[in-house]
């Protein structure tokens, strides 16, 4: 693995800032803001490391969402009404909003393009769309997976 610590810190710190910012927008309790920042740091650090190990955006996002959801589930074993707030806020910086915007921009470009350029525009749209769908599915699956695996016998739940 050849990863610059400065780049890792840059990505993780900005992920934390984005998660904490969205935590305020989502009206999280003030006491939880440091934990939300930490969740964003953990998610972006994991995703960056996974990408540096050769994983695609979808695979890296899955790994990061899964790590965050497992950490959140372990913490949830203590009596608390907070639910999966940390997991949700933590993965928000990984939701590929810019990729979604690019899909629509390239879709509009495809609709506006002349016949000679339409194949190129169609390929760009398709590329972005496939990456978007798989990344979203990866994040959602990673986030949901720990809650789909029961940790207690049915009669205790």
């Amino acid at each position: 693995m050849n990863i610059s610590l400065q780049f890792l810190f840059h990505q993780a710190f900005l992920g934390g800032v984005a998660a904490a910012g969205f935590a305020v927008l989502f009206n999280c309790r003030p006491q939880m803001l440091p934990a939300c920042f930490g969740a964003g740091v953990l998610a972006l650090a994991t995703r960056t490391i996974a990408q540096e190990l050769g994983g695609s955006l979808a695979v890296a996002s899955f790994a990061a969402a899964l790590v965050l959801a497992i950490a959140d589930k372990i913490w949830q074993e203590f009596p608390s009404p907070r639910g999966s707030v940390l997991a949700v806020v933590g993965v928000i910086p990984m939701v590929p909003g810019s990729l979604a915007a690019k899909v629509f921009i390239s879709l509009f470009a495809f609709l506006l393009s002349g016949q000679s350029q339409s194949i190129e525009a169609a390929i760009a749209t398709w590329d972005n769309l496939v990456m978007l769908v798989f990344t979203l599915a990866a994040i959602g699956t990673g986030l949901a997976l720990p809650s789909l695996i029961p940790t207690k016998p049915a009669e205790e739940r």
Binding site: H10, A23, L25, N27, A100, F104, L136, G140
Partner: protein, 258 residues
Amino acid sequence: MPQTDDPPLPDIARLCLSAGRQMLETGANGRTVHEGIADIARALGCDGAEVLCQHQAILVTLRRGPESCIEMTKTGEHGVNLRQTQAIRQIIRDLLAKKLDCPAAQSAADCVPTCTGAYPPWLVCLATGLACAAFGELLGADWAAFLPILAASAGGQWLRMILMRRGHNVFVVAGIISFLSAFVAGLGARLCGSTQDPIATIAAVLLLVPGVAVLNSQVDVLEGKPNLAAARSLRVLYLLTFMALGLVLAQALILPHL
């Protein structure tokens, strides 16, 4: 047979629907709503509770001995307010722990929208701006674009709160905010000497991406609630379409070379 001190089923159903509606409207997924309603019914002595949770309505059937009760409620616009979701979950925990009875829990649930604390609007706008500016840096924007993105998305959030409070259509609001935020961020980034003004325009509209709805629709489909997931996904698709329309219009005006 019902105990003499058991509350009437319609009262329990009303509490179940109040709690479920508030959880759905404040960003909870289908499972949280189902489990919350089932916990309330169990805490108040019901033998069983069936819940049908749709995007715009919740239907609940309660059974206790020979009695049964079916009630339905419509839900309002879905948003995200995690502190309110937690407040409702705390009420359910207090019910399970027998710290609250049905009338007290109903009063507490009715109070949640007005009694739950919130951040001042200026702080919400600043935090949203910071989050979008951080997104911009993650997407590869240079530091010259940081302040323009922050200002544009903070202003966009402020306008969004005003327009939503006035009851405007959520999709039209998304289009307007997207256009204005992208325009201000792109123009500001260029004036500040940034070479990444296309990234600045995209980063400034990311406050509109319905991330929680996207995640909830994924979780709902994985947990066997495809109707709710499909409705959420359709709304996400339309929101993104309006967001992209605003963004493309702004880019066409300030980035004609793209």
